[in-house]
């Protein structure tokens, strides 16, 4: 098999596995700072109980996030060395900056958060929680800066085949950074809050740890509801940005082959690249034009306007994008029901809804994964949009059999890690916030 394809599979595996965890740390981090702030202000033990529980889960998620994240940083050199040579002048800096300005902060103060509660003042502990929170979000910012430059490169010139930085701020805050950062963070907050809402629901269904569970559910569901509506806003902003800066990707996500004045927003369909047609298409007339340009007759470019070799894999891009949108809509529906139940004061008694929250735990993470797939697959055949093709980015010295070997290695390790992660997560949940709060030390 060809080394480029194998390296793509390996990167997809590594990035896909890694990204199960960061959204959860973003959302859990938010929940921790809220509880710690409440504990600091009100002094009620309940908040401390909840926070201790959250910190334990956070640490478990974080450990696997670190373990899987370091693979990605190495990957640019090991599997994508031409990429590193050709765009390293720009792409390396945000990775280094992430270390200096974000990851140190997160990692060093996580130590305090996890094991330092009895060693520092209440105030220092609160500050540590905030620093971990800021650290993880700054981390996300630098990674999004790096990835957004691949989507909408700016602030550089090409000299001798290499991209050379001409303006750091233009490169960092490029045409998609802000939209994508907000969209990612809100996705993380959705993931973390529904994760906790689901766990809390389980306690309420099991009639145990009732006091912390009710408080956790109220808080996490509130955040989830707000984020689920907010996500439509950030998603919309991001989609408009894609339509304007990466029109091929938008056309692929919408399965739009012919350019159209007044293009519909596609809801369902099966695009077939070989026939350049989308079968069983269901769309809302003119909505895409309205959403992108606020004009029902605005022209949206179709795939046929671009040479075939510049089309991403249309079927996959279309489907993952639509699964994400579908899940986002489901979250909005769940939120509406949630608001209704909260107003009716029936949230804690509505077992079917609580069960729904429990089983929905993985869904926001899946939505995040689908969103990333739409972003990354939709950018193909480019590694850096309109600058460097993925096929020209791979290492030339690594034999395919070695990559195949490491794909097998990572598959085994990740499957093992995921299994152990679930095992210990369930164990922590089984113990519950009340028992964990009683145990001294770790």
């Amino acid at each position: 098999m060809d080394a480029v394809l194998l390296s793509r599979i390996q990167f997809a595996l590594a990035a896909g596995f890694h990204f199960i965890f960061p959204p959860l740390t973003l959302g859990m981090g938010l929940l921790i700072v809220i509880n710690e702030t409440l504990y600091y202000k009100k002094g009620e033990e309940l908040y401390k109980t909840i926070s201790k529980f959250l910190v334990k889960i956070f640490a478990l998620i974080f450990a696997i996030g670190v373990a899987s994240g370091i693979v990605l940083e190495f990957s640019f050199g090991t599997n994508w060395s031409n990429y590193s040579r050709l765009v390293g002048d720009i792409f390396g800096a945000p990775l280094a900056a992430e270390g200096v300005l974000a990851f140190f902060l997160e990692s060093v103060f996580l130590g305090v958060l996890l094991l330092g509660r009895d060693r520092v003042s209440k105030k220092a502990y609160l500050v540590s929680a905030y620093l971990v929170f800021f650290g993880s979000h700054l981390s996300a910012l630098w990674i999004i800066i790096a990835n957004s430059w691949m989507q909408t490169p700016a602030g550089f010139v090409i000299e001798g085949g290499r991209a050379i930085l001409t303006n750091f701020f233009e490169a960092a805050i490029n045409h998609s950074t802000a939209e994508r950062f907000l969209h990612t963070i809100v996705g993380g907050w959705q993931s973390g809050s529904l994760f906790l809402a689901g766990i809390s629901s389980w306690y309420i269904l099991k009639k145990r740890d009732i006091q912390p569970a009710q408080a956790m559910l109220k808080l996490s569901l509130t955040i989830f509801i707000v984020m689920s509506f907010l996500q439509f806003g950030t998603g919309h902003m991001h989609a408009v940005q894609v339509a304007k800066t990466q029109p091929v990707k938008m056309a692929a996500m919408e399965g739009l082959w012919e350019s159209k004045d007044g293009a519909p927003l596609s809801v369902w369909g099966f695009p077939v690249a070989s026939e350049k047609k989308t079968y069983l298409e269901i769309g809302i007339p003119k909505l895409l034009s309205i959403m992108v340009y606020a004009d029902p007759n605005a022209r949206i470019q179709g795939l046929n306007e671009f040479p075939d070799e510049l089309h991403p894999p249309v079927f996959l891009t279309f489907q993952v994008y639509h699964v994400m949108i579908g899940l986002g809509s489901l979250f909005a529906l769940m939120s509406l029901i949630g608001i209704f139940l909260i107003l009716k004061k029936k949230l804690f008694e509505t077992n079917w809804y609580l069960k729904g929250l429990l089983f929905a735990i993985p869904l926001p993470v899946i939505a995040c994964e689908m969103g990333w797939m739409a972003a990354e697959i939709g950018r193909q055949p480019w590694a850096v949009y309109n600058v460097l093709k993925t096929a020209d980015a791979a290492s030339v010295v690594v034999p395919p059999w070695q990559i195949l070997l490491t794909i097998i290695m990572f598959t085994v390790i990740y499957a093992f890690l995921f299994f152990i992660f679930i095992k210990f997560l369930l164990k922590l949940i089984e113990k519950g916030p009340e028992e964990i709060a009683k145990s001294s030390g770790y």
Partner: protein
């Protein structure tokens, strides 16, 4: 000198400093991991004490490696690309180790059943990178086969030549010494005693491999015997390694740790002096070597990065010291 040249030299030093920081800090937790069976004698309580002594700190320590990797990528993309793709399998084995150790401590404390598995994964996960980092460094100093496009033309076994292996074991000894002196600071009674006994043997091994590495350098690295800066760092190393022995003898554990750190830093000093301005030497043909001049990023990138480093790193070092102070004192359980 031109601004670009100055920046290239600054980045040679800054990356060196990041590696020194990594060696000193992650060195002690890698060292404890690599010596875990000998220090804990496979006893669960002792393992727990050793793990607790590093648990709140090791994560931050490893960020030095992540940052050094990122800085190498940003400042000298060609060196990063050549080494990481050329040493593919070796680095994947390192990654395997780093992944294992990243989760081991957490899993050890969460595990209700057989905790020993996670002590073992931490041991293996620490030992692999502890050896291979030195082997990798030995290779770029000795030189590796490169073509005119800066691509590695050797194979996995090219990496396992005698000189890099000697450097690998020397590095491992330095890491052992970091681990042992740190263990002495943080523990009492039996574990402390084990570390003390072990340190006698490791010290001898460390000194022996330093001498061996020096002789190997005279043979394999042209000009090494006339490199004055390397000699200065050699002198510092000798003072430091003698100081380790004296301070361990007097049970002045913190000073022993500082001496061990100084010895480690001077090894980097020697390596840097022999290597400058090369990053990766080409075997047989110096004109193909990857240097700070032909591998670097642009003036603008290097300047932006200097600004980030000058603002960021003092703050990092400041709060790292603060957090170390929070967790100072003997670990008891």
């Amino acid at each position: 000198m031109e601004t670009l040249t100055v920046l290239q030299i600054i980045w040679f030093f800054l990356i060196g400093i990041l590696f020194v920081g990594y060696s000193i800090l992650d060195g002690f937790d890698l060292g404890i991991g690599s010596l875990l069976p000998l220090l804990s004698k496979n006893d669960e309580k002792k393992t727990a004490i050793l793990f607790n002594s590093i648990w709140p700190l090791w994560d931050g320590n490893e960020v030095w490696l992540i940052t050094a990797g990122g800085a190498l990528f940003a400042a000298f993309p060609h060196a990063y690309a050549t080494v990481f793709s050329g040493f593919y399998l070796a680095l994947m084995i390192v990654l395997f180790g780093l992944i294992l150790r990243a989760v081991s401590i957490e899993f050890f404390f969460l595990e209700a059943g057989n905790k020993k598995i996670w002590a073992r994964t931490f041991f293996i996960g620490s030992l692999i990178p502890a050896i291979l980092f030195g082997v990798a460094l030995g290779n770029v100093i000795l030189g590796i086969p490169l073509d005119s496009k800066m691509e590695f033309t050797g194979n996995f076994f090219t990496l396992l030549r005698p000189f890099p292996l000697v450097i690998g074991i020397l590095g491992l000894c330095a890491i052992f010494m970091q681990g042992l002196t740190y263990t002495m600071i943080k523990t009492e009674n039996e574990i402390n005693e084990s570390a003390r006994l072990l340190s006698d043997k490791i010290w001898k091994l460390y000194a022996a491999f330093f001498v061996l590495a020096m002789i190997a350098s005279f043979i394999f690295i042209p000009g090494s015997s006339k490199n004055i800066i390397a000699w200065i760092f050699t002198a510092i190393f000798i003072v430091a390694i003698i100081a380790i022995r004296i301070f361990i003898g007097k049970a002045e554990e913190f000073k022993a740790f500082i001496s061990s750190s100084l010895s480690f830093a001077s090894l980097w000093g020697i390596a840097g002096a022999l290597q400058f301005p090369n990053l990766v030497k080409a075997l047989g043909d110096d004109s193909l070597s990857i240097t700070i001049y032909n591998a670097s990023s642009s003036k603008l990138t290097l300047s932006v990065m200097v600004a980030i480093a000058l603002v960021g790193m003092p703050i990092v070092i400041g709060y790292t010291i603060y957090v170390y102070k929070i967790f100072r004192g003997k670990t008891r359980g």
